[in-house]
């Protein structure tokens, strides 16, 4: 099945010829290569790593059809994954349910514990705390009794733990691999941080309802969904941003709030918050060199005043009384006065159709799929496709992953795997059953990439320098050793007890490829046990790349 090993130049010329042809007839589908090396390369970029036998399987289907299937993810049935996710209790809840059952009880328990722990230093301690759990005892008069009596404080952590677990399981087991790659990409592009206050209550819905449905859709819709998501409104503080003269409105509201009411559920002080406006321009759309000014940031922020979170439903609400209804000028375009909620929508229209946005998104996608420094010609073609299709993200991705640049010989293994890609690809390479996902989540944390806990709005970096450090490499080697141990807690893989030569041959064929360095191969061949050999493969320089 590896007969195509030496056919690269020929294949490349064929692709180039096809591309030339398509410029004449843009509707003709490019004819893609189907040799083992090209398939392995494509699997390493469009999935979280090849499983044993994947290369041959895709070759049988034909690479072109396989890519098309991945771009049309509805066709995969995903029964195995659905079974694995069925046990999680929070993944299907909406934000207000999560707030009521998990976040608020956790906060109450935390406060009760704080009061109790300092009761000896203060006479204010009023809540009895069950010493075994730290949660308020059953006699507590608090109206918000924790749903789980054994530690409400755990509730909030459970939300993120279930999300992080499901993310890893999806990466390993989903049949819609490209969709998972893109959900990871777009969540990271529109990053929010679970460590900020009550952000956790919004993230389940954010990934499920805001990001996932749009990853193969149109950019404008994805952008609009994030702009109105409580997760983004809270994370970048826009929910607190008001027109400068909203002071009177806020004072009236404060007067209506019952004394002793809990956490504030909206802005308390009037004033513009530029946080979202700035990141919207710099990170979400135009890019840092996208040609906007500080005045544009202010004008954009003004357009989004009053875009806030409804305290009752925990969903988006436009508050006209908090909105700055004056005229605005954004990137040279006038927005007339009294536009209300339409101001923000108009700004999103301007940004989504701006050439700098097309360029920025094309560059980031090409960086994800091709190389840290993708060829400018490819980025330009992808940006043009973005423009021509009104930001159809499926078509932009298709342009990139069917391009001659994508299949060029010097693209192989140019990308360093992120920790998530490393962990997921290791589990997939062994075709392992994840017995306990926690050690894998801990590994992600140790490698510096805990899911949903990337603090800055930039998201995790997608370039080699962020993930290659001496400490991180040592951690990867140790994780390789741990995963290869047949008695390990995290995974069970039949191959770990299999025949040394057979397992080695298969790992080289699917996970590494024949072009691995002689030194690596020599090291691997010196291993005297299957366990040793697997550890050396997963910890090898070649396996750190895709």
């Amino acid at each position: 099945m590896n007969v195509d090993r030496f056919t690269r130049p020929t294949r490349l010329m064929a692709v180039a010829a096809v591309v030339l042809a398509t410029t004449v007839s843009p509707t003709a589908a490019p004819e893609l290569p189907n040799d083992a090396a090209s398939v392995r390369h494509t699997l390493s970029r469009l999935t979280f790593g090849a499983r044993p036998g994947d290369v041959a399987r895709v070759q049988r289907i034909g690479l072109e059809r396989w890519i098309n299937d991945q771009l049309t993810p509805g066709v995969a049935d995903n029964a195995d994954l659905r079974a694995r996710l069925a046990a999680f209790e929070t993944l299907t809840l909406d934000s207000s349910q999560i707030a009521r059952d998990y976040v608020i009880p956790a906060r109450e328990a935390r406060r009760a514990q704080q009061r109790a722990s300092s009761a000896n230093a203060s006479t204010n301690g009023t809540t009895q705390v069950d010493p075994s759990s730290g949660a308020p005892a059953q006699g507590d008069a608090s109206p918000q009794m924790p749903r789980r009596p054994n530690g409400a404080a755990m509730g909030q952590r459970l939300i993120i733990e279930e999300l992080a677990s499901s993310k890893l399981l999806r990466a390993v087991y989903s049949d819609r691999q490209l969709e998972e790659v893109l959900v990871d990409f777009w969540f990271n592009h529109f990053n929010v941080f679970a460590g900020k206050g009550r952000e956790p209550q919004f993230i389940t819905s954010y990934e499920r309802d805001t990001i996932r449905p749009h990853v193969m859709g149109h950019f404008r819709e994805l952008l609009g969904a994030t702009a109105q998501s409580p997760a983004m409104l809270f994370y970048l503080d826009n929910w607190l941003s008001t027109s400068a003269d909203a002071t009177r409105v806020l004072a009236q509201r404060a007067a209506r709030r019952p004394p002793g009411a809990g956490a504030p559920n909206g802005p308390r002080a009037a004033g513009l918050n530029e946080n979202y406006g700035r990141e919207l321009l710099e990170l979400h759309t135009l890019g840092v060199d996208g040609g906007y000014t500080q005045q544009d940031v202010v004008e954009v922020a003004r357009a989004f005043t009053g875009w806030t979170i409804d305290p009752r439903t925990q969903s988006f609400r436009f508050a006209p009384a908090l909105h700055d209804n004056g005229a605005k000028v954004v990137l040279g375009q006038k927005i007339a006065a009294d536009g209300g909620i339409r101001d923000g929508e108009r700004v999103l229209d301007i940004l989504a159709s701006h050439p700098a946005t097309a360029q920025h998104i094309a560059l980031k996608l090409a960086r994800r799929f091709v190389s840290d420094t993708p060829p400018p010609a490819l980025v330009a073609r992808a940006a043009k496709r973005f423009h021509d299709t009104d930001g159809d993200l499926r078509e932009v991705v298709r342009t990139i992953v069917t391009s001659p640049e994508f299949f060029a010989a010097d693209t192989t293994r140019t990308k360093v795997k992120t920790p998530l890609e490393f962990v997921a690809s290791a589990v997939r390479a062994l075709d392992a059953n994840v017995r306990n996902v926690r050690p894998l989540l801990r590994a992600l944390q140790e490698l510096g990439m805990p899911s949903y806990l990337c603090q800055p709005p930039t998201g995790y970096a997608d370039t080699a320098e962020a993930w290659v450090s001496s400490g991180a490499l040592v951690s990867r080697m140790n994780l390789a050793l741990e995963l290869a141990s047949p008695g390990g807690r995290a995974i069970a893989a039949p191959g770990l007890r299999g025949d040394l030569v057979a397992v080695r041959t298969q790992l080289v064929a699917d996970a590494l490829g024949e072009t691995i360095a002689r030194d690596t191969l020599a090291t691997i061949e010196k291993a005297t046990t299957t366990q040793q050999m697997v550890a050396l493969v997963l910890g090898s320089p070649e396996f750190q790349r895709r």
Binding site: S122, G125, E282, V416, G471, V474, L536
Partner: protein, 407 residues
């Protein structure tokens, strides 16, 4: 059987004979001969209440604003502020640090902080660690930029964080290590040699370089710590993660492996409810901080003469206590500098006062010293960087001519 020592020795010899002397080992040898200056940065995450840590007991407004959580005036109670200069006093649980004030190796910078108004923990920590307040797009941290602009050889042991993840302060292009402990920084299962064989000549220059640094650093640390008599550490550190991190830092510092910048975190300073005063929640955190730093100083011994311990926290807390006996997020804060090079026995910075008209936004201690001026003083006055490189370490900012905190 080949012992680890023999392996280390022979592989080092082999590398030398091949002209592969690890560059930083020679640099380390040079550095050991010179000043061996060390900065130990401690980040108090959660916004420590500087007003109850370095108490402005001479300011009557302090007692008006904090009726139930203020630290009593010196000598007015069993647990009262420890007077420093008639105006300021230390929280009583900082008693272990008072001797450093007395021998003039402890300084305070009060009403210090960021020009950015954010009261978000995550933004403010980000701004302090990147040292670019208001600029989110900065990709590296100030300590890494210091290492990068003064980098003569790639020694990952110049900058070490005792933390699971590389803290923002040390992220960036210069090599640096983030490790949980010296003991844990090793390839398990005796597989180091096999991995090294696969990496050492890898065509992949990025991975080859980093792995070479890792294996070198590992060997250096193991050799250095193995050579030390086990009975050496007699100092009692707090058994907290913070205490343990400081102990690891001291052991790396004493191992003479070229450590120049170390980083540790002290967590849980965010007390919105029942903060307490001389006793209570804050007092417990202050106790851990003081005991840890005192143990570190004792453990460093002579090395304290070349060491500055610098504390920081993202912002201070509101001047007035809130309705729950706690404090909400504020602005200005206090920083400590401790060590031989510190011009101590002084509280630096202009005190803006806590009168209503002096408060920032009508509620918080105002900032009269930019935290970057303190950082810049340490970088130039202590670590010996030229003022000319400050523009690269603190982009977009021109630090003051110098506060004279160290040197």
């Amino acid at each position: 059987m080949v012992t680890r020592r023999l392996f280390v020795k022979s592989s080092a010899m082999a590398m030398l004979s091949m002209g592969f002397a690890p560059a930083f080992l020679t640099r380390t040898a040079e550095a050991a001969g010179k000043g061996r200056r060390l900065l130990i940065a401690i980040f108090q995450r959660g916004a420590a209440d500087g007003l109850n840590i370095v108490v402005p007991h001479g300011d009557a407004d302090y007692y008006r604003l904090r009726p139930s959580i203020a630290i009593p005036r010196p000598n007015s109670a069993d647990l009262a502020a420890i007077d420093l200069d008639g105006q300021f006093g230390l929280h009583p649980r900082l008693a272990p640090l008072k001797p450093f004030w007395d021998n003039k190796s402890l300084a305070v910078v009060h009403a210090c902080g960021s020009p950015d108004a954010t009261r978000s923990h995550f933004d403010a920590q980000d701004y302090m660690e990147s040292a670019t307040p208001g600029v989110k797009s900065t990709s590296d941290g100030w300590l890494n930029r210091y290492l990068a602009v003064t980098d003569l050889a790639h020694n990952p042991l110049r900058g070490v964080a005792l933390a699971r993840q590389m803290p923002r302060s040390l992220q960036g292009p210069a090599p640096a290590l983030a490790i949980g402990s010296v003991g844990g920084f090793a390839v398990r299962g005796g597989a180091a040699q096999s991995f090294e064989a696969a990496y050492v000549r890898a065509a992949d220059s990025v991975l080859a370089q980093s792995s070479a640094e890792a294996f070198d650093a590992m060997r250096t640390l193991q050799r250095a710590t193995a050579n030390r008599p086990a009975t050496e550490t007699r100092v009692d550190y707090p058994r907290s993660p913070f205490g343990q991190a400081l102990q690891e830092i001291a052991s790396i510092a004493k191992a003479d492996v070229g450590l120049e910048v170390a980083f540790a975190e002290s967590t849980n300073w965010d007390h919105h409810v029942n903060e307490g005063g001389s006793a209570g929640q804050l007092a417990l955190r202050v106790d851990d901080l003081a005991q840890g730093i005192a143990a570190l100083a004792a453990d460093l011994g002579d090395r304290l003469a070349d060491t500055v311990i610098l504390t920081m926290s993202e912002f201070g807390r509101r001047a007035a206590q809130n309705g729950n006996g706690g404090t909400d997020h504020g602005h200005g804060n206090a920083m400590f500098l401790i060590g031989g090079p510190v011009r101590g026995g002084r509280v630096y910075g202009r005190w803006p006062g806590l009168a209503p008209e002096s408060l920032y936004d009508g509620r918080d201690l105002a900032v009269t010293t930019d935290f970057r001026d303190v950082f810049a003083d340490v970088v130039t006055g202590h670590l010996g960087a030229d003022r000319a490189v400050l523009a690269r370490i603190f982009p977009g900012y021109t630090p003051s001519k110098g506060l004279g905190l160290v040197g």
